[in-house]
Amino acid sequence: MNGVHDLGGMHGFGPVNPEPNEPVFRHDWERRVFGVAIAGFGGGHYNTDQFRHAIERMGAVEYLSSSYYEHWLSMLETLLIERGAITKQELDARREQLSREAK
């Protein structure tokens, strides 16, 4: 599949900027997304190919402007809804609730 994820050889992304001694997870939510995503494999909700394909189906602009674990989160939302583990209504309701509580 041709898509924006196929980055090899593209120009214009700037320097690599490797960071010495970076943490494995920069934020707690990244750790959580990682754990839930691995649990999704264990629970039989998707395999590696479906996982990658879900990330490759992200919109090009969204893909390039979001971080690695945001890609994983997008994969989780896509596949868990498609596979019927959660509904879009549940996700939206929970998201609304969390944003209310954060205020």
Partner: protein
């Protein structure tokens, strides 16, 4: 694993012939390491690993990949301008050394066997293992020479 290969020529031969099996001898097995190919740095060839499509990386041996490995700049440019990218890591590869870039994928992961540095004659496997960095096994670093000469 790298230090073992430096001190034990028979292990090194097994490692280069069947990476997955030789790495498993040392107990490193598991997801994202099911099919491993080890590529050797020599005086003529420097190897560097990327996953242009995403973030394929040998978890059992190296852990989770750093942010730069998964980000667009490295994935896009290391295949087009590997020497320039290596310089950003402070790694200068001589013009008479060929640079080979290996694109890992979901089924198969590459790992670089760095060159044993000068000044380590007679060192034990444990001492040598201390010198080996993650970046040296991705190919973005070279294990530096040791002792007064360095």
């Amino acid at each position: 694993m790298v230090a073992r290969a430096w001190v034990d020529p028979e292990y090194k031969a097994r490692l280069l012939a069947d990476g997955t099996k030789a790495i498993a001898e040392l107990g490193f097995t598991g997801v994202q390491g099911e099919d491993m190919v080890v590529v050797e740095n020599t005086d003529e060839v420097h190897n560097v690993v990327v996953c242009t499509l995403c973030s394929c990386y040998p978890w059992p041996t190296l852990g989770l990949p750093p942010v730069w490995y998964k980000a667009a700049p490295y994935r896009a440019r290391v295949v087009r301008d590997p020497r320039g990218v290596l310089l950003e890591f402070g790694t200068r590869v001589s013009d008479d050394v060929e640079v080979r870039v290996w694109d890992s994928n979901a089924e198969l992961r590459y790992l670089v066997l760095p060159q044993r540095p000068a000044g380590t004659d007679g060192w034990t496997e444990e001492q040598l293992a201390e010198l080996v960095s993650r970046d040296a096994m991705v190919g973005t670093a070279i294990v530096p020479a040791q002792g007064a000469a360095s």
